[in-house]
Amino acid sequence: MNKFFIILFHTFFSKLRSKSFIISTIITAVIVAGIANIDRIFEAFEDRGTEVAEVGVVDEENEYTALVQEQLGPFSDQVRLTPLSESVEEGIDRVEQGELQGLLLLEEGPDGLPQGIFKAQTVANQQAPQVIEQALQQVKIEVATARLGLDEETVESIYAPVSFQTEALSDTARSEEELTQTRFLVNALVVVIYFSVLAYGNMIAMEVATEKSSRVMEILVSSVSPVKQMFAKIFGIGLLGIVQYMLIILIGFLSMRGSMESDGFIGDMMSGVPVSLIIFALVFFLLGYLFYATISAVLGSLVSRTEEVNIVITPLTMIVVVAFLISMFGLNAPESGIITVTSYIPFFTPMVMFLRVGMLQLPFWEIALGIIVMVISIVFLALIGARIYKGGVLMYGKVSSLKDIKQALALSKKES
């Protein structure tokens, strides 16, 4: 077998069998399965939370209790109002003893409208006061409108939400519904690119640095050219990443099937996403990976100890974070100038250009230009990187990035 593939599969399988890979895949899969079933998880928790809150009511005029009780409507199985005959002090006593969860004082305010005070041991984390407040608000509206002589229908028509719809006139522009879907997908992909670059980039740099620090590199470079090694590693880890995402997507898909049928949140989001967008997602993911992986491999080749990997990789991480922030901003303002400009800067293109592809109706040449920019920068990086890598792997000593790059280049040069 070709040496390139020997290294590629060696990298792939040794990582595939490593504990860290297995654990991180399992954790991610669990999280994905969790998100896919988020509505069911919420339901499960809500079911347990239907404990009836006993609230005592002291209502001097005794005219609002029934109205509030009525307004509670669907929440009446969560909050039960019990009129108290005792005084307020005795009511407070009963709350303190735990017999009641809260005490509601209803009275008529100076303007003749109802007002309430809710007393409880703690007021944090309680649903009862919110529910009661809403109910009381309704009661107040009822009382006030009745006083003005408005009937119920008029009141309802006042509070009914206005009918307002956006319609794009251009046929090709994205409808609001489509935008929500793509926004979701773009968001997901930006996060995926972000994490992949961080995780796999670090993995590659670590891999190279480990081989250097254990000095096995010197044997490797005498059997296989450094450039071949570098790309075999990048593709090996890339294959690993693809397998990892396949696994996660498969698990996500399987656990989502249920909620897709029941019109769950995720199912709603995924159906109706154009196929072309998913293809662009894949293209930009791969380009982004190759771009950042090449830089990581080169950075890894510059250090002599694994501890130093983080030092050289930090600037790269920063750039990825910036790219992430720009695209988060771009989700809400995809047409702003900064988004347009940054979508052609190779460090940001994979995330930002994909965002524009998803959110706007871009002419094809703009997308093509973005892809060309990426391809050119990857080829350029690969050529320069291969030379730095060739010298870097034979170089040991302290890190001081820029000087090292120069030295590594000198070492790999024919004439110096």
């Binding site: 020997i6 254990s214 590199m217 010197e218 044997i219 070492l411 110096s416």
Partner: protein, 299 residues
């Protein structure tokens, strides 16, 4: 089939690491490369292997440049030892062997033979970082010869080994040589070079200051050593013509003389003074030559 270096020079910017080396190493020979730390041995090896390019001159083996096409014919034991610490001996060598163009089954077959030879068969499925340093070195050595290379480059193969292991490894190296492998090795232990090599080269700050056959080198050095032990004071011998150095000991002295005839003069001068317990004329050791050649220019 010979390895030839012609006027090879390597410069790193201003610094000249290796200056104008010309060597010819015939097939099946063992060639010793000597030099203090930083003399340019490792750089020379890296150039021979094609890991870095020489600034000037040519390096050919079997009339071709050594490159990755010929990597299955070349073995290299780097000075800095390195293996994957978390991989087992078997996995490791299968990987490295395959990168040298071997099949997996063949690697395991040859590996077992080597492990038997070094009496460490039980380490086949042990991880490298569970082995002692000496055994790690043996595995490293096996990694450099597993593909039965025609040209073997050993950078300080014996450093850090105990005497028993050194003997084991030396025997293995000699056997390889007798099977026809061309071997280049570096060392700063002169006795190893003296014992193993026909040809040698001493590098001093990148310059080859001694280069040739071991016997020739010794003969052309000319000076010989005279060890004397006597019951009386021998310090007057310093004045004998042809004695270039005189080092007194508690009951004798070490003399360096320009040629063998001087020994006769010294012998005559000793006669009749009392009992002489020892009078030995020694060939100069490589160590003496090295110290004089390298040490002199250090000062």
């Amino acid at each position: 089939m010979t390895l030839e270096l012609k006027h090879v020079t390597k410069r790193f910017g201003e610094h000249t690491a290796v200056n104008d080396i010309t060597l010819t190493i015939p097939k099946g020979e063992m060639f010793g490369m000597l030099g203090a730390n930083g003399a340019g041995k490792t750089t020379t090896f890296r150039m021979i292997l094609g890991l870095i390019d020489q600034t000037e001159g040519t390096i050919t083996w079997k009339s071709n440049k050594i490159g990755y096409e010929s990597s299955h014919l070349v073995g290299y034991l780097p000075e800095e030892r390195g293996l994957y610490p978390k991989m087992t001996v078997a996995d490791q060598l299968v990987y490295l062997g395959r990168l040298r163009g071997m099949k997996k089954a063949k690697v395991l077959e040859v590996l077992k033979q080597w492990l038997e030879r070094f009496n460490i068969t039980e380490y086949l499925h042990k991880k490298i970082d569970e082995l002692s340093k000496g055994n790690q070195q043996k595995i490293q050595f096996i990694a450099s010869v597993i593909h039965q290379p025609e040209l073997l480059i050993l950078d300080e193969p014996f450093s850090g080994l105990d005497p028993v292991n050194v003997e084991q490894l030396k025997k293995a190296v000699l056997d390889l040589k007798n099977e026809g492998t061309t071997i280049v090795f570096s060392s700063h232990r002169m006795e190893h070079v003296e014992e193993l090599c026909e040809h040698l080269c001493i590098l001093q700050k990148g310059e080859p200051i001694v280069n040739g056959q071991l016997k020739e080198v010794k003969r052309s050095y000319g000076k010989k050593k005279l060890m004397i032990e006597a019951e009386f004071d021998v310090s007057y011998l310093e004045a004998v013509e042809g004695v270039t150095s005189f080092t007194p000991y508690s009951n004798g002295a070490k003399l360096v003389i320009t040629k063998e005839a001087v020994a006769d003069q010294v012998f005559k001068a000793l006669a009749g003074r009392g009992s002489v317990r020892k009078f030995v004329l020694e060939e100069p050791s490589l160590n003496d030559i090295f110290i004089e050649k390298v040490g002199a220019s250090y000062e």
